[in-house]
Amino acid sequence: MRTSSIIFGVWCAVVLGVFSAATYTGNSPFADAGRNDIHGYGYYGPMHK
């Protein structure tokens, strides 16, 4: 296996490790507990109009 492949394998292992830790502890940089759902728009009602 080439050095570049080994480095990429290590990178994949790091990503997998961080992802596993985030999944186990229930962490996400994108989870905002619904604060952005409606109040982010500052408007109630259909977005269609």
Binding site: M1, R2, V15, L16, T23, N27, S28, A33, D37, M47
Partner: protein, 417 residues
């Protein structure tokens, strides 16, 4: 070797190690690197002088020095070898010599083999056409980089040494690349054309399948990318496994309550949830139906029974319908799901403040059927469960493991084309 090529091989005794080194381009060669000890010798004068003494075993070359054959119709011999690097990339250069045609370069890098033919005159520059070599046009393709000689072996027409640097620029043409190497006041121009591995193998008299050190297009494209893709796909599969192993949601315990449209805000404790891990995600589901053009504001609080710490969460159940020039439309959902990340361990009361509102807005046509508003109280169901899948994490991680091989494949294709 054909009869019109006059071999000019001369034996030189290395003053450092005493080895007998063949000088194949006698009369043209200025410096020679001993194939036994790696010492650089000055052979421009009758007395061979030692420029730098080395005691390093010569590298085993894929194309041995002295290999000769016909390349692009010209019989030539490999007299020198250099390994150079620039901007993190390394490549090999074999110096070929023919007494009548002079020198040319056989080069190998990750993308395959190329032949560098030196120009005896500088390219002509025209402002609107770029650099011209004959009728071939070339335009700048890279900024100037510094190339360093990392290893050298054999004989050369200048005093080459490890560590020597030149400034390199490349210009792209339709079928070839123009290379310019500048050192002090001197500029050397060469036209570089791609070579097939089979051509190089035929020239050197070896099997093309044995030429593994300089990967051809096939190995480059499918060797690296395949390894990367396999690793990326395995990592993606393991991430999916992680999602399903760690996502263990509790059974939802639905609680019902009613809210009056445009009435008072209802506050009540609807649920209790216990988190056993130090940090866990929580999902709060809510559902209501039997209304149109209304929204139900749901402000949840997870209140820790022991510490009274609270986590505030918001959700909205809303559904709208109407008719306009495009026809009927509807929007929203009777179901809402909110995920809360990393809630600390403990037992929590789930408190909800709910308020239902009718929708009306200035300048917006009223609902087609005014009776579509709910006229009576609305029943809302709420349930909190442990566990949640953050697919955003999954897509982010998937991008991290699949983007490098895809980019690698894309850029290697661009480079080849």
């Amino acid at each position: 070797m054909s009869s019109d090529v006059v071999p000019a091989v001369k034996a030189i005794t290395c003053p450092n190690c005493g080895g007998s080194v063949a000088m194949r381009a006698a009369g043209h060669t200025v410096s020679l690197v001993c194939t036994y000890c790696g010492s650089t010798l000055d052979v421009a004068q009758p007395e061979v002088k030692l420029i730098s003494a080395m005691h390093e075993a010569a590298a085993e070359l894929e194309l041995p020095l002295g290999s000769h054959g016909v390349l692009r119709g010209i019989e030539c011999e490999i007299v020198g070898y250099m390994r150079r690097s620039a901007a993190g990339e390394t490549w090999e250069e074999y110096l070929l010599f023919n007494p009548y045609h002079g020198y040319c370069w056989l080069m190998a890098d990750d993308t395959g083999w190329t032949l560098g033919t030196m120009l005896t005159t500088d390219p002509h520059y025209e402002p609107d056409r770029g650099l011209l070599v004959g009728n071939d046009r070339f335009s700048a393709s890279s900024t100037a980089t510094t190339a360093v000689v990392d290893y050298v072996l054999g004989e050369f027409y200048w005093r080459v040494a490890v560590g020597e640097t030149v400034t390199m620029e490349t210009y792209e043409g339709r079928d070839a690349t123009l290379s310019c190497e500048r050192q002090a006041d001197e500029s050397n121009w060469a036209v570089i054309t791609p070579l097939k591995t089979e051509e190089v193998a035929t020239f050197a008299g070896i099997e093309s399948s044995a030429m593994a050190a300089a990967p051809d297009e096939k190995t480059y494209m499918f060797g690296h990318v395949t390894e990367f893709m396999v690793l990326g796909v395995v990592a993606s599969f393991l991430m999916l496994c992680v999602v399903f192993v760690f996502h263990n949601p509790s059974q939802p315990n639905w609680k019902n309550f009613t809210v009056t449209p445009d009435g008072a805000t209802q506050t009540l404790t609807v649920n209790q949830i216990t988190l056993t891990r130090n940090s866990e995600p929580v999902t709060i589901h809510s559902y209501s139906d039997g209304f149109e053009n209304m929204w139900i504001d749901l402000d949840y609080s997870l209140i820790n029974r022991q510490t009274q710490q609270r986590v505030d969460v918001s959700g909205t159940v809303e559904h709208y319908t109407g008719r306009d020039s495009d026809g009927a439309w509807s929007e929203g959902s009777y179901h809402n799901e909110v995920t809360v990340a990393a809630v600390p361990k403990g037992t929590y009361d789930v408190v909800v403040e709910a308020a239902a509102h009718r929708w009306s807005a200035k300048g917006v046509p009223p609902p087609s059927d005014p009776n579509s508003f709910a006229t009576s109280d609305l029943t809302v169901q709420v349930a909190a469960t442990t566990g949640a899948v953050f697919w955003s994490n999954f897509w982010l991680a998937l991008t991290c493991v699949l983007a490098p091989p895809l980019l690698f494949w894309y850029f290697s294709r661009s480079r080849k084309s």
